[in-house]
């Protein structure tokens, strides 16, 4: 497909709680839409091929690699990025736990790790350290903060046992 000028297709979705209607071209990747067109650069590009997890966001509560989603597919979706996790200036429990447990160093994989962790807890797959390790293995951390990431997620999962039934930590 040649990206010649294209008027775009109208897509309406919720982004961090706000309804947005955007004209998107058929070849635009959701990750690029977020980073370039919307200016929400908290969602990171690490590989663009679904191999590193840095671009993980929440779509309808599910953790999704945004580099593998076309923007045009998002009509009617509820999208939450790292910028939408804190509410009223208060960090999400997992954001705070990442700080408390030093679960990052350079910070580049961190938004994806946190989004992934939030969904993981909601999925009910944060029952043990082994389970967290396994289910967080789609999010690479080259700084090697893995043990601290597990600590942070285990901490929040233990403090908010109802989270996987839909209660917001």
């Amino acid at each position: 497909m040649t990206p010649t000028p294209h008027s775009g297709t109208s897509v309406t979705f919720s982004l961090n709680g706000e309804s947005r209607t955007m004209e998107v071209r058929p070849w635009t990747i959701l990750l690029d839409l977020l980073r370039q067109d919307v200016g929400l650069t908290g969602t990171k590009k690490g590989c663009d091929h679904g191999q590193c997890g840095a671009c993980t966001i929440l779509i309808d509560g599910q953790r999704i690699y945004s580099c593998l989603q076309l923007a045009i597919m998002q009509d009617g979706k509820d999208i939450v990025t790292i910028e939408g996790l804190a509410s009223n200036g208060e960090l999400h429990a997992l954001q705070q736990a990442f700080i408390d447990h030093d679960a990052f160093q350079c910070g580049y994989c961190t938004p994806g790790q946190i989004c992934s962790g939030v969904a993981l807890i909601a999925e009910g797959h944060a029952g043990s350290r082994q389970e967290i390790r396994e289910f967080m293995s789609g999010n690479l951390c080259r700084c090697g903060a893995y043990p601290n990431i597990v600590d942070a997620i285990a901490d929040v999962a233990a403090r908010f046992p109802g989270a996987h039934h839909g209660a917001k930590p």
Binding site: K44, Q51, Q105, C106, G107, P111, M136, L140, R142
Partner: protein
């Protein structure tokens, strides 16, 4: 009441944490500008030859393409290759992107497509057609190592030590002899953030460059030199770096390409590399060691001979400290060293976490394990038997060395005494259990660094230094030092880093930033205290009127007399009473030559590893690591522990996963992605226990710090390899230890 809980030495959360967990920390490709153009790189698909033709017609026809750069139309840049030299490059002629028609390695950038959007640039790049005249290439170190050579020009500080005694004779006279070859695959840094540069064109012949770099001043000097600009016209700002590990020490080619396009187009330009392109530049050199140990029956060493051959490019002689460690770590009177290079048609390798050390130490510490087996001595006892308290390579005194305590505390925590020495003797179900250990060592450096501290009228402190924080925790430790100097809370200190307009610092690498920038901030704080006291003494009815620096203390944001703590003045009031709106001090620290001539300084570690190996499938899991570290003063145990954990994870990757695989017929790396070039994932990492051994060092640096970024990786791969031997009885001497090697 005045209280002064010290921040230095206490666990403190990262002050850049809130920015990083909310997505507000801004990395190189995330800065933007009006009318920003996007560059996309096309790389060579062959390893050696000449560009016979480039057809850009189809690409140029794409609406939205602004310009396509090749060697035929690139704007004029510096003529001499020396103008492309950077602060840390090795001897040789640095790579010049788009310079001429010569292909030097597969993946070499040869076309830059600049377009109005990223998608248009990417699409147009796919339409560029290139013809090559192929020349025969060589990318196989096994073939090229027979033409290896001693680099005629040594990279600064990288020459191996002089030989001592007669290592050859002592080896042949020895009762016990180990002589083996140990190799390590080429590894790629793969920081999570791909290399990127955003150049903001201001319209007045000045540019602001947001570069993924570990040294904003290095990038600034490079850009000024290559493009003939004054440094004033180039400001480099990179407050956050998404992982470096050495990959951002030297300027990478996206910096050149983005600045080139921006200056010519008079427009802001961003060039961001793809993950695949992250395999087209710096990497850890593939290295082969031949290491020979000769010892008495009791394990005492007589002779060490260490010969390493590392790959380098055709155009530069990259060198690291690979072999020196073998003459340093254990007591041995006869030692010889050789560190050679072999030229391949590849990009120049470069520094990667603890450059050289884990390469050479994998050989030494594997050989020591083999010697322990030959001597029927516990591997830990063998190290203690050969313990040494001086730097035998130079004859200098060590500033401190608590390695013995690392061995003791690490062994205790690990439960080493319960180890059955017989390989294959420990098992659980279908898993063989192996316990191995190794030592680690890294030189403690300190380099000339400046810092400025400023106290504002609100009594809050700002610290400024050009150094980076690549995830090391630099922001936080500098804030701790500044907060302690004035008795402030962490919230009252802001730290500005990664900006070429700030006081000068070297590139962030080699574990020297904490010692260097930390000492600079400390020195600047001392001067600022003097200035504040001077200002306070001039205030009306000042209790400090006659006070000397030794007479006062700063706590809870106030300056007080030690003798009468109730007589105090708020720091904010001192600043407000002064003529200026703030009081500031800048200082520069540098290593003492006198001290350098007399002393050597190293961080040490003892690493204990447990592996569990599925006997039938050969799957290896590293289930436990204890890393006991002696590295002088620990400024922040929380971020320090993370540094060591990170290094250990890198050691696991080196031991079991990381390997760039080249198809030598094509001269091209085949696994250029994170799906095929394996780095450890969360499930690969189990328990990592970090111990910091008390070590007081008054000479390594003014603040007693030795640095932590490297020491975590150094001994880890060897400890794991030794554990694999203990589990299986198989000695794998080439890293990574993959299943095929174990079952083969």
């Amino acid at each position: 009441m005045l209280t002064n809980d010290l921040h230095v030495g206490s666990p403190r959360s990262r002050i850049d944490g809130p920015a990083k967990v909310t997505g507000q920390a801004t990395y190189a490709a995330e800065f933007t500008a009006p009318n920003l153009a996007y560059g996309y790189v096309v790389g060579s698909s062959v390893a050696k030859g000449v560009i016979a033709g480039i057809d850009v017609a189809a690409a140029e026809a794409v609406v939205g393409v602004i310009k396509i750069y090749t060697h035929q139309n690139r704007p004029r840049t510096a003529w001499f290759s020396s103008s492309y030299q950077d602060q840390v490059g090795p001897p040789g002629k640095p790579f010049r992107p788009l310079y001429d028609d010569a292909i030097l390695y597969s993946g070499q950038p040869i076309v830059l497509v600049v377009a109005q959007t990223f998608e248009i640039a990417r699409h147009a790049a796919s339409l560029v057609r290139i013809q090559y005249d192929l020349h025969p290439h060589e990318t196989d170190l096994e073939a090229a190592r027979h033409d290896s050579y001693e680099p005629p020009s040594k990279r600064f500080g990288m020459a191996p030590p002089a030989a001592r005694g007669d290592a050859v004779q002592a080896f042949s006279d020895s009762t016990l002899r180990v002589s083996q070859e140990y190799s390590i695959a080429a590894e790629y840094h793969n920081p999570m953030e791909p290399h990127a540069t955003t150049v903001v064109w201001h319209g007045d012949d000045t540019i602001t460059v947001h570069d993924k770099t570990q040294g904003v001043l290095n990038s600034q000097a490079y850009v000024a030199s290559v493009f003939g600009l004054s440094k004033k016209a180039v400001r480099v700002i990179s407050p956050f770096v998404g992982g470096g590990f050495g990959s951002g020490l030297r300027p990478q080619y996206q910096l050149f390409l983005a600045v080139m396009a921006s200056l010519e187009l008079k427009q802001s330009v961003r060039v961001e590399l793809t993950r695949e392109q992250m395999f087209s530049h710096i990497h850890r050199a593939q290295t082969v060691n031949v290491l020979s140990l000769g010892a008495e029956k009791n394990g005492r060493l007589n002779s060490v001979q260490h010969h390493a051959v590392s790959a380098t490019s055709r155009f530069e002689d990259h060198q690291e400290v690979v072999v020196s460690w073998s003459g340093l770590l254990y007591k041995v009177e006869n030692a010889s060293f050789q560190q050679d290079l072999a030229k391949l048609d590849i990009y120049t390798p470069g520094d990667m976490r603890a450059p050289g050390a884990p390469l050479g130490m994998f050989a030494l510490e594997s050989a020591m394990d083999e010697l322990a087996t030959a001597a029927d001595i516990d591997p830990l006892d063998l190290r203690l038997e050969n313990y040494v308290d001086t730097d035998q390579n130079t004859g200098k005194i060590l500033t401190s060395k608590e390695l013995r305590a690392c061995y003791r505390k690490g062994a205790e925590r690990f439960g080493w005494s319960k180890r059955n020495p017989v390989p294959g003797s420990m098992r659980e179900g279908r898993e063989l259990i192996g316990w191995g250990m190794a030592s680690g060592i890294w030189e403690a450096y300190m380099f000339k660094t400046s810092a400025r501290v400023t106290l504002g009228p609100d009594g809050k402190l700002e610290i400024a230094c050009a150094t980076s924080d690549i995830g090391t925790g630099t922001y936080t430790i500098l804030a701790q030092i500044g907060a302690d100097a004035f008795g402030l809370s962490m919230d009252d200190v802001t730290v500005r880093l990664g900006d070429s307009s700030l006081p000068a610092a070297p590139v962030q690498g080699g574990s020297w930033t904490a010692a260097s920038a930390g000492s600079a901030v400390m020195a600047a704080c001392n001067t600022l205290q003097e200035k504040l006291l001077s200002a306070a003494s001039r205030m009306p009815d000042s209790p400090m009127a006659k006070a000397k620096l030794d007479d006062i203390l700063c706590a809870s944001g106030r300056m007080a007399l030690k003798s009468e703590p109730s007589k105090s003045i708020a720091l904010a009031d001192i600043v407000s009473a002064s003529a200026d709106r703030s009081i500031s001090a800048e200082e520069t620290v540098k290593p003492s030559l006198l001290k350098y001539l007399q002393y050597s300084s190293f961080a040490h570690s003892a690493v204990f590893a447990e592996v569990r190996i599925d006997e039938e499938l050969g799957v290896i899991r590293v289930t436990r690591i204890v890393s006991a570290v002696a590295a002088g003063r620990i400024l922040n145990p929380k971020t320090a522990r993370s540094q060591i954990i990170g290094g250990v994870v890198w050691g696991v990757g080196m031991a079991l996963h990381e390997e760039a695989m080249t198809d030598h017929n094509l001269g091209r790396i085949m696994n250029r992605s994170l799906a095929e070039y394996h780095v450890p994932v969360n499930a690969d990492i189990h328990d990592i226990d970090v111990i910091f051994v008390d070590e007081t060092d008054t000479k390594a640096s003014p603040i007693g710090v030795k640095g932590l970024g490297e020491i975590g990786i150094v001994g880890t791969a060897a400890a794991i390899a030794n554990a694999v031997h203990h589990a299986t009885g198989k000695r794998i001497r080439s890293l990574p230890i993959t299943i095929d090697k174990l079952l083969g």
